[in-house]
Subunit: 348 residues, 3 copies
């Protein structure tokens, strides 16, 4: 089951053009994306109502989408506006349209009740449009249910085991770290401080840090989006806002987590650095470090999910470090349950 | 569900030899084909009655087929005639045989009630044996239920959208074309005339036509076989037999449509030209044009079928141009229904 | 259904090390193998009890196995001995362990009732540790239920059809061979003697035999292991122990047959020669002959199984030569039935 009344990342802005429609499966529904003549994005259910051919294989005609099989045309609301060979258009000839918004270099989609979309602000990756940051992103298609990617992103305790050679470092340090977890109705925030600790390999590589530092990791979850802010500052200053403002090194990672199907997940992520925002080489090095890290997670999550798939009724054993990921699952589950009651939740 | 009391194309004549048996799945049943010492073709159910090994992996011994695992032999009627290591042959030791006929360079098979096979004439691709025509054919294995290939072949309205650069041309012309549909018990014929129209690219390439022409398209459907006759003649003469007899250019396409499984289809087709029947290069060019065209259809049909597979209960919206394909589906459905009543229809 | 109270071959000794755990699916359960500091092998259920990550992807820490995701550790009995970030270990934190024994260069596993493992001797490939024999082995993963591999190994009547060019030779000879079958509670022995017969190609290649010989084939089945002893001696002496002791050529093949899943089988086999046990080149030639032979069987079994999979209710027709394989199936079936009654059998 998916929560539908959520803004999910659907695509990078550059993926959706006015030249050729673009198809992607979201919450197990096929969606065709394109841009209208005014440059705004539109999204239609990706199946022509006539014979089922994917509209994403068709052509953009002005602000309409034309099916590539028999030439039937739909406007951005999914209303059929032309059927070759006849004048009358039957009232059943239409496809579903989805609210989409463009923000911070991304196309966001709302797969649920369209009325509620208007009342819900689109989240963002704010530092994509902040000149103090240089960023680069990409998309992974992960063969796992999306909830296991959320678990992974909300859990910093795996850093010392999975990411020994990149952002993690010595596992012993992570074991002893204090963790603060705050929960609201629709969000979980995890804050960790690693005081007086040696730098992880990525810190040395990026900012040439070799002395001990105070390290912080702040992770903010809301359904569909997890933002991570990580940094290093002088020993003894990691707990204060001033210390963080004078960081020796800081990076941010935005993670759009969008179910493709029950068993596969679109993972839109970007890494941002503030050492030298306009230097593409520094941004690339930052990106490369994170990509290496996330590829380690990718392997772990898929191996884990393969095991879980074959034993759907198996019960896990929770440990103390699971507190944040357990809270995040409760939030997502409560959205699904609530939508089931009002009838908008979709089967996976 | 498949209609079984139909002559389906099973193979090109050259595929079935006296050297090595040949296996192919037809209506979801595995069939082993071979030639006897007199050169005629035979077809047995492709599973040894002993331990299930495919007979198509065995050897041809005279007019019999020998299983390649334990050496058990069957004659062309499927009767077991030898079991190594014993004299007695149990009465259960037999496999099913299927009526086959060779005609026009093809092997045709009857998967239904053998008594009815004798009463039903084998259709043909007559121009394969007519010296006024030069032809070349091939087989595609299409990942779609066969009915969607029938739909595609019976519907000329997609030419202007899918085949813009080959046999189709300007979509505006196709939209306005008059279409005549005739139906009998077991056939549908569609006749279209495009008067005073520019030639499609294939016409120019093949016959160097650059002026406006009258174009005709005749499509004849019967279960398992769709024959297409297409041509161009002087403006004003396309409606008369005389005009057609003096065609500037004409080509014919035979299409054997044989279910492999519910979800895959053997597509045996050939293209024939009468410009210069003995010139293999002209035939090759004709074939290449049609192959390009049919590869476009192949992609379209598979993309369509993928969508439909995931929503089996979804209802399509019909349009005026669907009249012929809807009639053809009714004919096939009525055969299936009729066979269900007498108990010979096979589950897909 | 699998019989669990059986010693199955799990791995070659060299596959299980103290450096890195090793994962393999046995009777459809994932198992992680590793060696402890004392060099003995251990086997745990390959799924961490915390979040399901495969333990075989983790690290060996002393005599324990550490999960590679969150650092949780288990000892060789599957008891959790460390959870990072907390002192208390919940009693549910454990994974299953399996009895394993090392013998004759192989790791053997017991997937059933551990108490019965102690009472059951581990079989062996004795000539792996006998200096009169030189051997070489490998593993095939066969896409078939394991029972069809047993059938194949117990049936010498296919030699003349499947292995014409290697160990088989003239099919006519095999047809007339007398076969003796002895059965006990848990074993079947087939003895065949081919008196005064030309040598099969392998005999000529290995031992340069060109004259007629007496050939024997002894096949011994017990669940999980089939041992084959084959040889050639002077005409008239093949029936006596003395004749066999003076063999012109003899080879042995051990076959560990271990279900991976219901539809796939680990096949651990080795070929041994006594012509010149210390000459690796002679052993390699012997191995190459058998490998060629077994690859022929591999193809046959998979083609057969593909057919059978699509018709699970289909009834085979038995022939006289099936006597040994039918007995072996009865033994395996009776083990499964018996375990069902006491509740230890596992669904496939």
């Amino acid at each position: 089951m998916f929560a539908r009344n959520v803004w999910y990342v659907a695509a990078w802005s550059s993926e959706v053009t006015a030249k050729k429609p673009f198809g992607r499966r979201i919450l197990n529904e096929p969606v065709a994306f394109y841009r209208k003549t005014d440059g705004t994005a539109a999204a239609l259910f990706d199946r022509c109502c006539h014979r089922g051919y994917p509209l994403s294989h068709g052509r953009i005609i002005g602000s309409n989408l034309q099916c590539g099989y028999h030439g039937i045309e739909f406007n951005c609301e999914g209303t059929c506006v032309k059927i070759p060979g006849q004048e009358t258009i039957p009232s059943r000839a239409k496809v579903r349209s989805f609210p989409v918004e463009e923000k911070d270099g991304l196309i966001w989609i709302w797969m649920g009740d369209a009325k509620r979309a208007q009342q819900t602000p689109v989240p963002g990756y704010q530092w994509h449009t902040d000149e103090r940051w240089g960023w680069k992103g990409t998309t992974f298609l992960i063969k796992s249910n999306h909830l296991y990617l959320n678990d992974n992103l909300l859990d910093a305790s795996h850093l010392g085991y999975v990411h020994l050679k990149t952002v993690g470092g010595n596992p012993g340090i992570h074991d002893k770290t204090a963790m603060k977890v705050e929960r609201t109705d629709r969000s979980v925030t995890v804050s960790r401080l690693l005081p007086d600790t040696p730098p992880a390999p990525t810190y040395t590589k990026m900012a040439n840090i070799t002395c001990n530092i105070d390290r912080w990791q702040d992770i903010h979850f809301q359904p569909g989006l997890i933002c991570v802010d990580v940094g290093a500052t002088k020993v003894g200053t990691g707990q204060t806002a001033e210390g963080r403002a004078n960081a020796m090194f800081e990076f941010r990672v935005a993670n759009g987590v969008t179910p493709e199907t029950e068993h596969t997940t679109h993972y839109f992520w970007s890494a941002a650095q503030s050492l030298n925002p306009s230097d593409a080489a520094v941004t690339q090095t930052m990106y490369d470090e994170i990509e290496k890290t996330f590829r380690e997670d990718w392997e772990v999550i898929e191996a884990q999910y393969e095991r879980l798939l074959e034993a759907p009724d198996w019960r896990t054993v929770d440990v103390n470090n699971d507190v944040a990921s357990v809270q995040a699952r409760r939030i997502y589950d409560s959205l699904v349950r609530e939508e089931c009651e009002v009838g908008t939740a979709s089967p996976s």
